[in-house]
Symmetry: C2
Subunit: 620 residues, 2 copies
């Protein structure tokens, strides 16, 4: 008897678990198939972008990870002086100040996965993990692809022994030993480089390997190098480069260029040739004249740099690929785990909304159109960055074979915007309005600012009208599947602004026959941010749409959807209108997707436009 | 066979659990005896002072409680106008801005206790809970009181059934059914009002009951009262008063004066006369003309106001009393749970240090001398506050029988300093230096500022020298049993300051024969906060004493005890020297107790004085 589920996820790494987080939020019946016997406990990826922390925080626990992680504040550049001795030549902030409340951080993948598992377990009992297990075949009934209630995908899975060497597996990580047949509506392949799922749907990885070989070690270093707790890019004169990444628990990750090993172009390096002592000896040479040793080594590996992107991300809009399965590159910029999680953060809510029948199936097409260009940008950045980091520093201006350290720093600095994950901008599509798609009245209201269609809404502090508590607007935009209509009516002490808000409030009134549709609990949630002094506004003078309906479901109102852009008692003023560039006279309405990307912007009178856009996305 | 343990704690409420947290930190073998069948799940205390949150955060989880709690930002005063209709007459911040990074908050006692239990469980396996259980007798072998390794106290305990009605008990909350005999070195009675332990040692509670009867209800209110999510003090013209305390999960706690019930002076009120409808009808009358109803009631009770303090806090310095056992008063100012936890936060580290043989037994005398005066202050405040809150508002200046609402607000506002728990100042004693006890050289260096002998060290932001991360100095002063020597050497770009620091560094060098004693891992920890730009100081130019010895115990250095009072990249400047009032030319050294209270202050040359003080406290 096959088991029928909504979703099968192949691979319980960061990409697979992020997909499973959405599955938990939407209460989808889900099975994750993972080949590993247990969770990983050390090594692997560790970089966390600002944007990834924002995303994790939208599930409620980004702050906990941030507390445990090692924060990257400063990057130090060490380059050879005219005698060939390394010197600190520059320092820059690792995250561009003002772009996010979370800075670039590092924490090893196993800990991050644990946080994701914990969220899944406390949110839903519908998600289970089968491990160690491997999929054997995938069959798709093509005739049922557009049929809503069908299970068109069949997966045969072999569940291996239950020999679990450590205690990191939970009760949900079990299954019957032997062959299982699972039928599902959708499947996501998050099974890493050389993806098995990818092979089943004819994936071709486009791109190539370079000849550059690097080692990675996680150690507790004993050293007189003064910047060992800073992120450092060290170029030695002739011995190659090191990237230093300080980590949690006194650990430091070293990315070490192995200049003595040079495979022929196009050939793969044989990993068995590497060893910790070979790698560490290279590190010592690069860091001379500073001493370097260790008593404790936690993890190491060796890799060859290459950059590849998959030619396709989906088949039949039923099977999707994400993460390393569709993009591989060098790990030094700390991008892999992030871009992988962002892939499934994108497809996850779309699948959830389609499966719970609030959205139209056609939105699934936007997964590839939104995410593949990001992978291409990543590969482009990584190619340039890796080339410059692996190159020998130029001795002087005439040394054209060498890399200019000024150019390297400039690339690094420019890359910071990209590597934070904050600069992602999805183009106009079914779920993002076109720039020119504005009514005459809205046009001048739309700010030239950090608010951009297709970009994630940045967070600024506002103050709760009901209890004067300062809160980051980002904390309101939780990943619970809701779309949000952020209404910025301006200063409500002005009669015209209040009247405009009241007119809008009538349209948002559920009981009104000409009301705005889509306002059911988990579809579109109206949120109000006014620009008046909090103490000069009375809560119950504002439209009911912004407080009716109790969040806790035990009577009373939901008081936490009305905010003032005002001074707080203890944490200053967030200046949200100014930061977002919203005109206090005209006001603005912003439609925000469940993943916090801006879908539409317009004036308070332009709600019909938002309704038109949503008619192509949501179901009534 | 009696069981031998270091410590017995009677009562698993907030006071008992705070004692158990220290027991866990010091790995004391400890048994908690609790009469309840399981943990509490609703009602009871809920107020959390700023200082309590600081204390909980020093164990590592104050921020989590803060995130879950409802923060009190503003107090609104509602008083009758000349027509007798209640109006909002004023608003003030609930916590005085600038005094703490944590503001007054509320969360129900059961949730807070769960956080404490979780800490205990993950920190030590030596602490267990016996419940439901009651102590039968206490016997003390007076001949063994001063004997270090003896177990002079015998307790017979009856452990009742294991019938646990809900799943909130952990594996550690079990014991053999029947009579158990326990021998222990120390015992703390945290068994609440009418303390059984108190009766065994002849406790007399001094003070009296008033005639004022109040009801308490935790409901999700349905109301058009606009400030229902604010803390409100409402005085009606003739129907009594309400205190409104917004809580987590949409709940609101209402303290409701029951003016219709007036027991004769000196008599106790019969609780069975109360009911939710009786209390709620009184609330409705007070809040007129606003509507008030509810669908969900979580908890209610009724109480008579009285203020009492115990005549003694300890016997033989072997048995101690804490919390409601030695002070009872009205709950409206949200003080009870806080002052109770502070009692055992005080005795806990002292007992831990005596039991692990790093401190002298004589410091235990300071428990009563430090904590009893605080209870007396509390009772004095509560008497005045309760009288004013229970009184009828004066109609005009001539109405002398009424309470002036201006006076009430002034009392409230003045009380905020006390009720935050931040104004506690322990007097000079064995563990706090006397004001006049200063050498000539130190005298002018000691600032007139927030730094005061016997007061808790406030927290300001500094920047880690090693990795540029901004951190609250309060986060460094963890409750791990360490004393700290905070060294403020000033701006190290000045040669004289650097030289003074180097001289001090030599004295702090463990390998030096004339070195400062007490520097073993958990005794006195040196911490450096310099006033130079971080980027102009090299870590390894600073004395070894501030980085030698790895915290994680896996090699390497402890890089996180050196800080700069400098600008951070993303979170501004903490201005620690300015805020503490430390002179950048002269510098300052501050000796801080394990509970973050200041023990001694002096110049960088005055270390001998600190040594002299510590010789009377610690053991070598």
């Amino acid at each position: 008897m096959p088991q029928d589920v909504d979703l099968v996820i192949v691979g319980a790494g960061p990409a697979g678990l992020m997909a499973a987080m959405w599955a938990a939020v939407y209460q989808l019946k889900t099975i994750i198939i993972d080949k590993r016997e247990s969770r990983i406990v050390n090594g692997h990826a560790d970089g966390l972008q600002s944007r990834t922390l924002e995303i994790l925080h939208s599930f409620g626990f980004g702050d906990q990870i941030y507390k445990e992680a090692s924060l990257m504040q400063e990057v130090c550049f060490w380059n050879p002086d005219s005698y060939g001795v390394i010197r600190r030549t520059d320092r820059i902030p690792d995250t561009i100040p003002g772009t996010s409340r979370f800075q670039q951080s590092v924490l090893h993948q196993g800990r991050i996965e644990n946080y994701l598992f914990d969220f899944i377990e406390r949110t839903s009992s519908e998600v289970s993990v089968m491990r160690p297990a491997k999929p054997l075949t995938i069959d798709v009934d093509e005739s049922a692809i557009e049929s809503e209630d069908a299970y068109p995908i069949s997966v045969r899975v072999e569940c291996l022994s239950h020999n679990q060497p450590n205690g990191t597996s939970s009760a949900q990580e079990n299954a019957e030993v032997g062959e299982n047949e699972i039928r599902c509506k959708y499947l996501i392949g998050c099974d890493g480089a050389h993806s098995w799922v990818g092979r089943q749907i004819g994936l071709v990885m486009e791109g190539e390997q370079t000849a550059s070989i690097w080692g990675v070690m996680d150690v507790v270093p004993i050293t007189d190098f003064p910047d060992i707790r800073m992120r450092c890019a060290v170029h030695s004169a002739n011995s190659g480069s090191i990237m230093i990444i300080p980590r949690e628990r006194g650990l430091v990750r070293l990315y070490i260029q192995l200049t003595d090993i040079r495979p022929a172009r196009g050939e793969r390096f044989d990993k068995s040739m590497g060893s910790p002592s070979l790698i560490f000896d290279a590190a010592k040479k690069i860091l001379q004249p500073y001493s370097l040793s260790y008593d404790y080594l936690e993890w190491w590996t060796i890799y060859q740099i290459g950059q590849r992107v998959g030619n396709t991300y989906a088949k039949f809009d039923r099977i999707f690929l994400a993460g390393d399965a569709v993009h591989t590159h060098s790990p030094k910029a700390g991008q892999g785990m992030n871009v992988s999680m962002h892939d499934t953060y994108n497809i996850g809510w779309k699948l959830g909304a389609v499966l719970n029948k609030t959205a139209q199936r056609s939105i699934l097409k936007t997964y590839e159109s939104e995410r593949r260009p990001i992978a291409q940008q990543l590969i482009e950045f990584d190619t340039k960055f890796s080339y410059m980091f692996s190159g020998r520093p130029a001795k002087d201006l005439a040394d054209e074979a060498g890399i200019s350290m000024e150019d390297f720093k400039a690339t690094f600095q420019k890359g910071n915007d990209f590597t934070s994950g904050l600069s992602v901008r999805y183009g106009a599509c079914k779920i993002v309005a076109q720039e020119h798609h504005k009514s005459a009245s809205a046009d001048p209201a739309i700010p030239k600012s950090v608010l951009q269609l297709g970009s994630r809404l940045p967070s600024f502090q506002v103050v709760c009208q009901c209890d004067a508590t300062p809160i980051q607007l980002g904390d309101v935009l939780k990943s619970d599947g809701s779309w949000r209509l952020l209404v910025f009516p301006g200063d409500l002490r002005h009669e015209a602004s209040m009247q405009r808000l009241k007119n809008l409030g009538e349209r948002l009134d559920r009981s009104s026959p000409c009301g705005f549709p889509f306002l059911t609990e988990n579809c579109v949630q109206p949120i109000l941010i006014h620009a008046s002094p909090r103490r000069e506004i009375e809560l119950f003078d504002l439209p009911k749409a912004f407080y009716c309906g109790s969040a806790a479901g035990n009577g009373g109102f939901d008081y936490y959807r009305i905010f003032a852009d005002d001074e707080s008692y203890h944490q200053g003023h967030g200046h949200a209108y100014e930061n977002y560039g919203v005109d206090k006279e005209r006001g603005l309405v912003v439609l925000v997707r469940p993943d916090q990307y801006t879908s539409w912007m317009g004036g308070l009178e332009d709600l019909a436009e938002a309704e038109r856009l949503l008619s192509g996305i949501l179901r009534r």
